[in-house]
């Protein structure tokens, strides 16, 4: 029985057919769809029916399925989204099943990045769940013959207040009915003080499967007749093939050889046999001349970048700087540099593709299943409807799995061979084809007035973009210039660059907060007092004070020799201040990070346990780009293609970590996956200065650079 009820009059025009198609796909039970709310969310949307950005289904057994185009890559939204749905619906957390990243079943989504899931998808999902609860209450009122206001909901059961024996479960209400309801963010959400599930520390719902080996990632899938593919790769980016002889792999038993334009692959049921077949390919390449390398990249960017685009302009910064110089007031001019940084998810890019009923079905470790669907359709020259992308658990993304090259390769090979094909990049391929965080340069000229206030701030960033490049402090004259804008700079780089956990923000905050520290020291001011004096931003002041207090900050003019540092950044709507303590070995230049304290204001916190986990993860991962990680290259040649030479944080590096969540329930939930990694460069560099008096202007802070800065 199909019954469509209570479609909002002001809902976007929608054809009944589309809605029926959805309902048919989902079977019986109550289905709730939500349309766009905030303009940011709407901006990401495509046309109906794909603009439904959330839906959930209440089945006859009372189980609730939540469908989300987001994916789970470790950030914990599998759990926090389930919490939101459970809270608003009034069911227990374990009644929820999450279906994520399936382009057939889930509503369209732009991709899982930018700490947007909780901020943007969250409100839509909560509204859907609240609306479902309202629909269920109406049905229960009808069934029980009692007015709605006399009903209470607990654990998926609607009961009459003061007469608990008169009750009906959600499952019973959903039974035999199919009710679709389209909502437009009108449902009243629960107030914070009424929360039973949200806001409480909750263990990950995916942990059980992940500790037993049951959790499936793309590479764990198997199909009868599955072929493992190895693809022919150029030795350097930009190389062209001058000769190719595939006769030897073709003669190997069980090897399937594919040659289709740029795509040359050898496939075998055993991945190691495929590897051996690849080694048997006779190929020659012509390599382009390198134009710049690890050391010269910064100068090359400054020389070859497009003219800057002014993003912030307040007062006349050039005049104030000139007047300062003329008056003999010091002007601080600094150049900060960062290198290319790799994502290094422990699961390299992997995808399994197969042809099913004339469609290409691809299971991929991806942050963007719908993006992958579009790209695959484009590559194969077929309709998007002929492509289905499913997303199993993703073994780490950090922005890197927004690129979907492996999914396209698997889809092409499945179509060409007619068999299921696994494309699992090796670690070397992962390093070679990663879309790196770009190398960047920041030049700052700033001045202090005689009262120790920042009087001018002239900031110019090359290649990193302006995320987290806001001035934050209150100079009367300020200018922020970006050249070229991030994303428009692809021709600048010899290989792919892309989003890396808070893209560019770490670079910008490293530069700004180092410069602020330089001025504090020159002005004989304590770094905390100097920051508080120079910013009127209340949220920044609060996280700085909180971090300092939790750290046990001892006021002093740097370098105090204590090795303490401070930095603050804004990212994804969240403020995060870090305080750190380091010990520097002057003989070797090695930095040991002893302790990092984070104070984070992220608005309303959905899952405090998950939020702390993300902060710790950010700090631990952040040690890498601050202390060791810099991809070495010469032109299009990647010199670090192994974990033997590209070092990521290990157990022995572990500092003590403390995370303080600054309460701010009045603000809707903000991003949590990225903010704490952003101030890591600055807080460590500032602590190294405090320990030694040596100022470092380039990340990572390798022992060689520390020794050089110490004059050793």
């Amino acid at each position: 029985m199909t019954r469509l009820v209570e479609v909002e009059a002001d809902a976007p025009s929608a054809s009944e057919v589309d809605r029926r198609t959805f309902c048919k796909l989902l079977g019986g039970g109550i289905v709730v769809l939500v349309t766009g709310g905030s303009s940011e969310l709407s901006a990401q949307q495509r046309g109906y029916p794909e603009d439904l950005n959330a839906y959930l289904r209440i089945a006859e057994d009372g189980r609730v399925t939540v469908f989300s185009g987001k994916i789970e890559m470790g950030q914990g939204v599998h759990t926090s989204l389930a919490q939101m749905a459970a809270e608003e619906l009034g069911v227990e957390l374990d009644a929820i099943t999450m279906v994520m990243g399936d382009t057939d079943l889930c509503p369209w989504d732009a991709g899982t990045w930018g700490s947007l899931t909780t901020r943007m998808f969250g409100p839509a999902l909560r509204a859907a769940a609240a609306e479902a609860r309202a629909v269920l209450l109406n049905l229960a009122a009808e069934r029980l013959g009692v007015a709605r206001e006399h009903l209470v909901v607990s654990r998926g059961v609607v009961a009459v207040r003061d007469d608990a024996a008169r009750k009906v479960s959600y499952g019973a209400l959903a039974r035999g009915q199919q009710i679709a309801r389209l909502v437009d963010h009108k449902a009243v959400l629960k107030a914070v003080q009424d929360f039973e599930v949200m806001g409480r520390p909750t263990k990950r719902l995916d942990a059980g499967d992940k500790v037993t080996g049951k959790a499936q990632y793309a590479g764990d899938l198997h199909r009868p007749g599955l072929l493992h593919a190895r693809l022919l790769r150029p030795p350097v980016h930009g190389a062209t093939r001058t000769s190719l002889d595939l006769s030897r792999p073709k003669a190997m038993p069980g090897v399937v050889v594919v040659e289709d334009g740029d795509l040359v692959a050898v496939l075998h049921a055993d991945p190691e046999q495929a590897e051996a077949a690849l080694a048997a390919v006779d190929v020659r390449w012509s390599r382009p001349e390198p134009t710049f390398d690890t050391e010269s990249v910064g100068d090359y960017f400054v020389k070859n970048s497009a003219p800057g685009e002014v993003r912030v302009e307040k007062g006349d910064v050039a005049t104030v700087l000139a007047a300062s110089r003329a008056a003999g007031v010091p002007v601080f001019a600094s150049t900060f540099r960062t290198g290319y940084v790799a994502h290094v998810p422990i699961e390299p890019h992997t995808a399994m593709a197969e042809m099913l009923d004339g469609r290409v079905v691809v299971s991929a470790g991806t942050q963007t299943p719908f993006g992958a669907q579009a790209r695959i359709a484009q590559a194969l020259g077929i309709d998007e409807k002929s492509v289905r992308v499913l997303t199993p658990f993703v073994g780490g993304g950090f922005g890197g799995k927004s690129a979907v090259g492996q999914a396209i390769e698997a889809a092409r090979l499945a179509k060409l061979t007619g068999r299921p094909v696994m494309v699992a990049w090796t670690r070397a391929e992962e390093f070679f084809f990663d879309a790196f965080d770009p190398a960047a340069v920041v030049k700052i000229a700033s001045a202090l007035d005689r009262e120790g206030r920042i009087s001018a701030w002239d900031y110019h960033v090359y290649a990193a973009g302006t995320r987290a490049a806001e001035v934050l402090y209150d100079p009367p004259a300020a200018r922020v210039t970006s050249s070229p804008a991030r994303g428009a700079s692809s021709t600048l780089h010899p290989f792919a660059v892309g989003p890396w956990r808070a893209p560019g923000a770490g670079t910008n905050v490293f530069a700004r907060e180092s410069q602020v520290d330089i001025m504090a020291a020159a002005g004989k001011a304590d770094p905390l007092a100097f920051r508080l004096r120079n910013t009127s931003d209340a949220r920044a002041q609060r996280v700085l004070r909180t971090a300092a207090e939790a750290f046990g900050w001892k006021p002093g003019v740097g370098p105090t020799g204590r090795g303490q540092g401070l930095a603050v950044g804004i990212d994804s709507g969240t403020y995060c201040a870090l305080a750190a303590e380091v010990v520097v070995d002057r003989a070797t230049g090695a930095i040991r990070v002893v302790r990092v304290v984070a104070a984070q204001d992220m608005g309303l916190v959905v899952n405090p346990a998950g939020a702390r986990l993300q902060i710790e993860g950010c700090i631990t991962m952040g040690l890498g780009y601050v202390l060791s990680e810099e991809l070495r290259f010469r032109g299009g040649e990647i010199l670090d293609t192994s974990l033997a030479t590209y070092t990521i944080p290990q157990f022995s590096w572990l500092p003590q970590i403390e995370a303080v969540l600054v309460k701010n329930d009045e603000l809707s939930p903000q991003g949590g996956g990225e903010p704490a990694i952003v101030p890591m460069g600055a807080v460590i560099a500032n602590a190294v200065f405090d320990a030694t008096g040596a100022r470092l202007f380039r990340l990572p802070l390798t022992p060689e650079r520390v020794k050089a800065a110490l004059g050793g």
Partner: protein
């Protein structure tokens, strides 16, 4: 060379006829469908493929099938007993000692081997034993805490 290789796998005898120079990792993952053991680097540098061989932590990507002839191999799938999580598995859940979960089986197997030989490891012994297992999500601190908890509960069993 094509041979029959007998060994014990998760407590049960198995015998496989195949090229004995193939890596244990891919034999486990393809022939035996035990996909809990992960590929991470293929060079023994990340620890995602760690399994127990005669109680020792071994990188299965760098171990040939010939190397485990007649030996006792334990993978992540072999830790549960009668549907009960092993103390280490339970401690990883309780401490939220994972995020993406991809390195988790290797972390647990490496810790399992540590507790086999050192049932009550010090913090320093844990750090040293786990050093070669990489986690990119940054769950390290919780992993150490989980191992300490499991050790306190007889996690060597």
């Amino acid at each position: 060379m094509q041979r029959t290789i007998p060994f014990r796998l998760n407590g049960k005898p198995v015998s496989i006829e195949t090229d004995d120079q193939r890596s244990l990792l891919w034999v486990l993952r393809t022939d035996l469908a035990l996909t809990g053991t992960k590929y991470g680097c293929g060079e023994g540098l990340c620890g995602a493929c760690t399994v127990g061989v005669n109680g020792q932590a071994v990188r299965s990507c760098a171990t040939s099938l010939a190397d485990v002839r007649g030996k006792d191999v334990v993978t992540i799938e072999g830790l549960e007993r009668n549907g009960q999580l092993h103390a280490l598995q339970q401690a990883f859940v309780d401490h939220d000692a994972l995020q993406c979960g991809y390195c988790t089986p290797g972390m647990i197997m490496n810790a399992w081997a540590l507790l086999q030989r050192t049932p009550r490891p010090s913090r320093q012994q844990i750090l040293e034993a786990m050093e070669g297992n990489l986690c990119r999500c940054g769950a390290h601190r919780r992993i150490v805490a989980a191992i300490e908890t499991a050790a306190g509960q007889g996690g060597a069993a």
